[in-house]
């Protein structure tokens, strides 16, 4: 615990300074209050309408999570297929890279036309945005396996499935998790972008509504909650990583216990 405190006090202090600056600017009315509401007013909004924000936050979180899970599933599967079949890799990889160049945000309106105002287009955009880091990190991870380990596996008479399950897949997990951390925050962005384009629910909708009514305290509240969702999801992935990969180099605290 002391170690955690040692690691986190600096960024926390910086955040406090930012909040302090916000508070000072608002309290001294350096900027018109309708442009930048005070932290207190923003918090009041959150406390005044907890059900309203809770409902819309849940919608956004739900879209994000479904999008993230689909992106992870499809991403891992595509990576495995590409690593095991060079034909598929040569066909799919360049197309994937090209697809990454297309700004997904620009396709969002089209998805609304195709899929309507429900949660489907939001999930689809979240999937498309979060998919890329998952594939790239998983391909890198699967290829990073020690070639001598694969040779050993061959002399052990292991089946391809055994080699994958016991050697390649676990070896790729540290890479995969670094991709998952990027993907989960991108999934939030994807869901909110989907809501911006056409929705009657979710934090993207809340922000657009507040914007239309010049209700900046609500706008700020929406932003705060959205950031909070991103942070919570990111931390959740980190905790999962810590639990699943206690052996990984970046997580070690001890050093060698023997001298030769």
């Amino acid at each position: 615990m002391a170690e955690a405190a040692e690691k986190s006090w600096r960024p926390l202090a910086l955040l406090l300074v930012c909040f302090g600056a916000w508070w000072v600017i608002a309290a001294a009315e350096l900027v018109e209050p309708y442009l930048v509401p005070s932290p207190g007013r923003t918090l009041d909004v959150v406390l005044d309408k907890p059900d309203y924000l809770w409902h819309h936050s849940w919608v956004t979180t739900y879209e994000t999570l479904i999008g993230f899970v689909i992106a992870v599933g499809v991403g891992i599967l595509s990576a495995v297929v590409m690593v095991y079949s060079s034909t598929v890799e040569k066909t799919l990889y360049p197309v994937l890279l090209f697809a990454q160049v297309v700004p997904k945000i620009a396709i969002a309106p089209l998805f609304v036309v195709w899929l309507g105002f429900g949660i489907a287009p939001k999930i689809l955009i979240a999937v498309l945005i979060a998919f890329f880091p998952v594939v790239i990190s998983m391909v890198t991870g699967l290829k990073a396996v020690d070639p001598e380990m694969l040779e050993l596996s061959a002399t052990m008479g292991a089946s391809p499935w055994q080699t994958f399950r016991k050697i390649r897949f676990p070896a790729s997990l540290p890479h995969l998790f670094s991709g998952l951390k990027v993907a989960v925050t991108l999934a939030v962005t994807g869901a909110v972008v989907g809501e911006f384009v056409g929705a009657n629910e979710g934090l993207g909708y809340v922000i657009l509504q507040a914007n239309g009514n010049l209700d900046t305290p609500m706008l700020f509240a929406g932003l705060l909650v959205m950031s909070l969702i991103g942070v919570v999801l990111f931390v959740a992935v980190e905790v999962a990583e810590k639990l699943l990969l206690p052996w990984h180099a970046s997580r070690r605290d001890g050093t060698a216990v023997t001298t030769y």
Partner: protein, 272 residues
């Protein structure tokens, strides 16, 4: 053949089926610009239970030779026989130890050794008792549950050795297993490898850069030429299997063998 290697330089004198027979093997790699011959005219017989060390300059194809025996690489011509049977793919009746321990970092020492058993579908009870026995023999008692990152290089290599011996392979292939260790650890492991070899009566092929290590451990030492590699001379060490380290180093046989190998490799260096 073109080179001056004597045709039967590695042949065993008796008529028994050798544990390993490398019969007139050549390996050529095709690169974009040209064909590279890694090995040519290699003929070696290794008797059952024999310890053979292979020394030679870097890049002479020593490691390639081991991969041929393991069936991880196919020869361009000639053939490799294990106990009279032609090698035509990865062999499961060998143990392999690399220079790097190549351990799975998410598995404890014991479970790294047990990987061998899991892949082969060995009965769990037998695998466990055999693992305990091996870890004991290799001086790993007390480190069963340690993870690779908690072990020193020497200890990691002991784990790799146990993993290679778990299924009691008739042939053990070692590719510079102690090359990355410091001199003292290396000496220690040489002594233990000699002891383990005598207890298991496994046929061992050891690739090494250390002339002393080769002579201390082996019955015979194959000396190889630089690329394109071939066996230029076979040194019979002529020492009993049981070898005290300090005493062995002082014997005339040890000094004669190391001297001769140094001469051969030195001639190579001077020739370069």
């Amino acid at each position: 053949m073109a080179k001056d290697a004597p045709a039967d330089v590695g042949r065993a004198p008796d008529g028994a089926v050798p544990a390993v027979r490398i019969d007139d093997v050549a390996v050529r790699f095709r690169t974009k610009k040209k064909d590279v011959t890694a090995l040519h005219d290699v003929r070696v017989d290794v008797r059952d239970g024999e310890f053979v060390a292979i020394v030679g300059p870097s890049g002479c194809g020593k490691s390639t030779l081991l991969k041929l025996v393991a069936g991880l690489l196919a020869p361009s011509s000639g053939e490799v026989l294990l106990h009279g049977e032609r090698v035509g793919g990865p062999r499961h009746d060998i143990g392999y130890v690399f220079q790097r321990a190549a351990l799975l970092e998410w598995r404890s020492a014991r479970r790294n050794i047990l990987l061998q058993a899991e892949m082969r579908g060995m009965p769990a009870a037998r695998a466990r008792s055999r693992t305990d026995e091996l870890m004991d023999m290799a001086g790993l008692a007390g480190f069963e549950d340690a993870y690779p990152h908690e072990l020193s290089g020497g200890m990691q290599q002991r784990v790799a050795l146990c993993r290679a011996l778990l299924h009691e392979p008739p042939v053990l292939l070692m590719d510079e297993p102690f090359g990355a260790l410091d001199a003292l650890t290396r000496e220690q492991l040489n002594i233990e490898l000699n002891r383990i070899w005598r207890r298991t009566s496994t046929t061992v092929l050891l690739v090494t850069h250390s002339i002393a290590e080769a002579v201390y451990l082996a019955d015979r030492v194959l000396v190889m030429s630089p690329r394109p590699g071939t066996v230029t001379e076979v040194i019979e060490v002529g020492l009993p299997p049981e070898r005290d380290y300090a005493q062995t180093l002082a014997t005339p046989e040890f000094r004669a063998a190391t001297g001769r190998i140094r001469e051969l490799l030195g001639a190579v260096a001077a020739h370069d």
